[in-house]
Amino acid sequence: MADRAQPLSARAGIWAAAGVAALIFGAFAAVIWRAEAGRGLGPSDWAALRFTVVQAALSALLSVGFAIPVARALARRRFPGRRALIAVMGAPFILPVIVAVLGLIEVFGRSGWVSQALGFLGVPPLQIYGFHGVILAHVFFNLPLATRLILQGWQEVPAERFRLAAQLGVDRWAMTRLIEIPMLRKVVPGALAVIFAICLTSFAVALILGGGPRATTIELAIYQAFRFDFDLGRAALLAGIQIVLTTGAAVVALRLGQGDSFGGGLDRAVRRWDATSRLARQIDTLWILLGTVFLLLPLLAITLSGLPGLADLPSSVWQAAATSLLVATLSTVLVLLLTLPMAVAIAFGRDRLVEVSGFLGLAASPLVIGTGLFVLIRPVADPMALVIPVTAGVNALTVLPFALRILVPRVKDIVEGQSRLALTLGITGQNFVRLVLLPRMRAQLGFTAGLATALSIGDLGVITLFADPDIATLPLQIYRLMGAYRMEAAAGASLLLLILSFGTFWLLDRGGRGHAET
């Protein structure tokens, strides 16, 4: 296909992909070059490595374990609000981590709602800091993702198969054995691997809820080497370990995980002839309720506690919000400028690009890239003066694989449907982009822009390495307010952050769609 005449050249996309790869590999190389064995790996580093792997494995197991009954219940029940509930399950993806963690503290912390309720029963309060707090937050973020992945597996079972099974009078256990278990065997390993890979690079959760030597991820250890000791050699050594870890996990995740996580057709409930007993129905209802409450309670908590503080936020918060919007705008423009040509190149048969970029997106942790860039920039310029472009760039890199997943199928459709006609009419190059491509991609571009903006606004990662005291993004400012124990302001700012990230996502996504419908 690549050899046939095309209305557009794949060159721009190849350049974009090469640029991305050069940046990531450049950062990797800088890290490896700068890594000093120094004191080598002490017991605490091994503990961090162990903690990183164990928490990621446990988070993946628990998320998927709970997701199976929830997805099963959603697959076989139809009820009003089902579609909305499944849509809401996409929300944690763009939910700023610091907001969610604050919400979780208010619900599950020592003086949170659950502890207060337990207090009435004379049970001692819960403890959220440490290992289990980190796991709790990871399950909060990944249970919905796992549910959507597994629900997709259920939806992909042809309805006829359930019908046939019912006609043959197959009993419930046989139905599970013949249809559901083989399906799960196909879907679950991929879901486990993806969530494991995501949790390996966990930073903000461990920063707030962990942090002690017993609950430190490698990502957090990099930050500590940076901020506590300013030991670049050590940070680089830890980053090298992280590269090995995440690359390994990314290889496995990409091999196991097929299908996309954005789930087309999730709104369809499969008609089932089994599971009509009252007990089965009650169990399903219970799982759906539990899943929903677990998901919504922290959001409700942060909204309630944020409202009083929202009225008089310190000016530093508004300044930080403006910085965040600037970073997010830059990052989004960058994402679109990079991914659109890449998607075109992929549509013209350069499929390898998808693999490579998807792989790099999973393997590159923000703090590793941040450390690498710091090492590269420091000899020539003041890294802290470049905090905004660096943060925007790293944010863009992390969104890249998701953006490609959204854009590529659509570009492929357009290219397949319109190329020949466009070539006949002599519409090529810029004209093809302007007249054919862009107008047909508004919905996908809107969704991508929304995602990129929301993720960037909520990001608390590389900014912690580069920020100097008088600049902060909104998530960093919230973290600083929490550190100074100004919890009311922190809660108010969190609510503002929540509104900003969901608001910009909604606006951009809708902006794209609204046009497509007319």
Partner: protein, 324 residues
Amino acid sequence: MKTIAGVAAVITITGVAQAQDLTIYTYDSFVSEWGPGPKVEAAFEAECGCDLALVGIEDGAALLARVRLEGSRSDADLVLGLDTNLIGAARETGLFAPHGIEPELDLPIAWADEIFVPYDWGFFAFVTETGQNRPTNFQSLADSDTSIIIQDPRSSTPGLGLLMWVKAAYGDEALGVWEGLADNIVTVTKGWSEAYGLFLEGEADMVLSYTTSPAYHLIAEEDGSKMAVAFDEGHYMQIEVAAKLASSDAPDLADSFLEFMLSEAFQEIIPTTNWMYPAKIPEAGLPDGFDTLITPQNPLLFSAEEADALRDEALSEWLTALSR
């Protein structure tokens, strides 16, 4: 193109700090609205007719890392909030310059350092609710199920102080003490503010702070509900210091701040805002309420050189014990 220029302009504006006559990096609680920061700033600005910026950067040890990270590019002229345990590491950076003043001090120890100037001091202690029967030494604390919140010695001066406290009291047995304490520790925070905040929220029975902390509750809040627990091993001392950066573009103004720092105007602010003993006792003496505080019988303190030599070993013991 216009938009690109616009964006670039915004980046430059937000990325560059406003130029101040004198910029001081200090820890978070110093600049908080109830801390000494606002009063110190007003008093010094009135005296020098200049513009002073106090910038809060987490806690003491992270403060030093920040200065190291910024190196000679730093905006700061002075750093305020290191202590004797960090002096060795700070001196090694070569980023600090000798002060040109002759300090008169009321410290419990003799002081002669040509770079670092003390401004207050205190004793580390565990703070708890008044009337509670708490363990009174590290051994019985380790054996009890009393929960404590401590600070990370890599980022915070109280955290590092506790490391030295245990080391001073137990020497080679420190590792064993930490292994015993591991299950008492609810969480390790990055700085003092977080730890004290969590304690006030009821997240633990005791928090690592100072013998002077109850004075805050007593004087500022008329609340006698907090007390420091006297430990049999004695209490480790903290002497907080400030120093001038060699890269400062206002070295004379920096010297006048160091001089101001030991003047009556600064020193009388310290006891009731930073809740520490002033390095030079003001004419009016200590505020009422300070007489109710415990005075440790057996003060412990390593010299800057000793503390520097012990730091790596003590830190790796701590990390080892706590990461198991």
